[in-house]
Amino acid sequence: MTEFVQRKPFVFLMVLVLTNLFLLSVQIRNEQGLTLLHSWELTLFTPMASSIHGVTSKIENAVSRYVYLHNAQQENERLIHENAQLKLELIQLRGLKSLFLRARDYELIRNQYVFDTLPVAVIWRNARFYSQRFVVNAGIAQGVMRDAAVITPEGIVGRIWAVSRDSSEVELLTNNGAAAGGMLNDSRMQGVVQGNGSELLNWNFIPNYEQVKVGDLVYTSGTDRIYPRGLLIGQVLKSEKSRMIYRDVVIRPRPDYSRLEEVMVVVHRE
């Protein structure tokens, strides 16, 4: 066997190439759902990732606390958290105010604006060059559910893609196939914001006759039943009439996904 392989290396190369192609084809077929391999890997990988994250965080904290004043550092962290929470509450209250002026349907209001958030840390991410997902340190045990919205005070990030006991995998909104309902704040024009695997988002189903200007801010419409209404998605980067009936609108997401260290998962949504 070894002799045959040494004498006919190109035959062996074909076997190796076919092995890779087989692996790829199996994954393409299963891409819509979570594979067992993926699920097991997440469960096995969590303790390791959490430990590394814990150790590196402790080292980072020790160094920064040595360099900066201990109390000032803590106070700063508390204020950052408080500020983030207040920003979210402000968004919720603005949305409530605007909705109260237009509608009196209490159930609608509860569904759209009343939710709690769980602050979580990003414990693992793959190289940004390739990946559109990352892992956070909260799972089923902390009340995180699949498809829960992941947000920051600056805007939405994505949704929970896979959950294990103590960790979850987040799919960024920019991932190919990810989507959210989006609307303009002033005109209330609604469309579907979709990721395409790049750093930007497409805003689809906006008719050509609608006025969408570069620089306009796009907010969640709440129609997707994942993201609460009124959160910022991003800013219009390009808006052109197309040959079809819908405009060609490109959005730059507001949070910088490559710099996320802490995010919030929407839990206990009414």
Binding site: P9, L16, T19, L24, W124, N126, F129, S131, S198, E199
Partner: protein, 168 residues
């Protein structure tokens, strides 16, 4: 120069390249531009046989796919081809100088990146914006780092007598 790469050395390369790749991807900004597994596969393919190079390419590529969260087989395929062809390239062109090796690694990195992005497109993942600059930066970083690493490993692995043999 003796063309011997032992199994335990390959295992050490694999663990080192995968481990460093994993840690750097998380903790070193811009580390995605350095393709350590490509350098390791090229080195093994360079100094062993096409079969060994191909098998190591497959192993390193699959590990890299897991590390980067890509579909299994993307890097597996390209690294298999890289490991396999490195041996033949070594016998066709005598690239023992640092500059020659740097260019060779950079070209392999460019081809590797282009094939991966081609396959990504075929799988329905559109290429990222700034694709060409990313690939070029990656090729330059990997080429320079690879040629330095090649020289370092040569110095560790081979005795001065081996180098004198080459020079004479």
């Amino acid at each position: 120069m003796p063309a011997v790469i032992r199994a335990h050395e390959i295992a050490a390369f694999l663990v080192l390249a995968a481990g460093l790749d994993l840690l750097m991807a998380n903790y070193v900004p811009g580390a995605g531009y350095l393709d350590l597994p490509l350098i390791a596969v090229l080195y093994i393919g360079w100094y062993s046989s096409p079969v060994k190079g191909g098998v190591c390419g497959l192993l390193f590529g699959l590990v890299q796919d897991r590390v980067l969260g890509l579909p299994l087989g993307l890097n597996g395929l390209t690294k298999t081809l890289v490991g396999f062809s490195a041996y033949y390239l070594n016998h066709l062109v005598m690239l023992e100088g640092v500059l020659g090796r740097c260019i060779m690694i950079a070209v392999f990195s460019l081809v590797d990146g282009a094939v991966i992005n081609g396959l990504r497109s075929a799988l329905g993942q559109p290429p990222r914006l700034g694709l060409v600059p990313d690939l070029v930066i990656r090729a330059i970083v990997t080429g320079i780092s690879g040629s330095i690493l090649f020289s370092m490993i040569d110095r560790i692995k081979f005795s001065p007598a081996d180098f004198r043999k080459i020079e004479s």
